[in-house]
């Protein structure tokens, strides 16, 4: 199995673990971490493909993804903190007033 296939499988596994985490865990922060892991998995794919395709576009993309991840972390934690102020919980299921 040559390197690119291995790397793609690896990133797919990481991506899946992240996705599973989002569904399994109930702590908002942990869910958020899992999403970060998913994004990193995609970064790995990009860089592997960039290496394979010998073009820099992939790496530029990773660069942009990092910027996005940073902004997301900022906003995400902001939201979690603002919720925490109302209800001392980070459990996502507690936060379900809007339904029906």
């Amino acid at each position: 199995m040559d390197a690119i296939r291995y790397l793609l499988i690896l990133s797919a596994v990481l991506f899946s673990i992240g996705a599973a985490g989002v569904l399994i865990r109930r702590n908002a922060l942990v869910i958020f971490m899992c999403i970060e892991i998913m994004l990193n998995a995609v970064n790995l794919t990009f860089i592997a493909l960039s290496r394979q395709l010998q073009s820099l576009d992939g790496q530029i993309f990773v660069f942009m993804v990092m910027a996005v991840a940073a902004a997301e972390v900022a906003i995400g934690l902001g939201i979690i903190v603002s919720i925490f102020r109302h209800k001392p919980t980070t459990d996502v299921d507690d936060v379900s007033l809007l339904k029906g």
Binding site: I17, N27, D57, M66, A71, V73, F84
Partner: protein, 180 residues
């Protein structure tokens, strides 16, 4: 993309470490352990980037992810995630079971996809690893970034601006003062 035996060993090792880290994030009992798991994952990935001749990105990964984001998480954890949340039944529950089943199916689909891959048919670019080594990764990256991808670059800056303003606005303790 021929891989020397040493590289394959290292790749496998780092891969395993990354997967371990990811697993610990989702399985750890306490949020702090999952944060640490995430750190391990990021470091392993950084190492792999470097091996894939994207040195600058590896370093950037270490600084941005491992440095900034993990620290931020730990900080947030300390602020609110401190107490042991009543995380009973985090793995049980129909939702979790269904979720993981679907994820496995998703993984199978991607794996099926990768297996049937007949090598990337995409047009080969010109930037071979030795070109990178020769010109220096940062220089190359900087040039393309600021020349060809100037618009995304600016957009990234706008994005960060939004992130900052949003975060400050959300997290600021809003006294009820204005209303009275």
């Amino acid at each position: 993309m021929t891989a020397t035996p040493l590289e394959t060993v290292l790749f496998i090792a780092f891969g395993a470490v990354a997967i371990a880290g990811a697993l610990s994030v989702i399985l750890a009992r306490h949020a702090v352990y999952s944060a640490l798991g995430m750190l391990v994952n990021f470091v392993a990935l950084a190492a792999m980037y470097i091996m894939l001749s994207a040195e600058f990105l590896g370093i950037a990964q270490l600084i941005v992810y491992a440095g900034a984001i993990v620290v931020l998480f730990l900080f947030a954890l300390m602020l609110i995630g401190g107490r042991r949340p009543a995380e009973q039944g985090r793995l049980t529950g129909g939702l979790a079971a269904a979720g993981s089943a679907l994820v496995v199916v998703f993984l199978a689909e991607i794996a099926y996809l990768v297996m049937r891959l007949t090598g990337t048919a995409g047009a080969k670019g010109t930037v071979t690893p030795d070109v990178i080594a020769q010109l220096g990764h940062i220089q190359l990256l900087g040039a393309t970034l600021l020349l060809e991808y100037i618009l995304p670059f600016e957009l990234a800056s706008v994005l960060l601006l939004v992130g900052i303003v949003g975060a400050v606005m959300l997290a600021r303790a809003r006294r009820q003062s204005r209303q009275e």
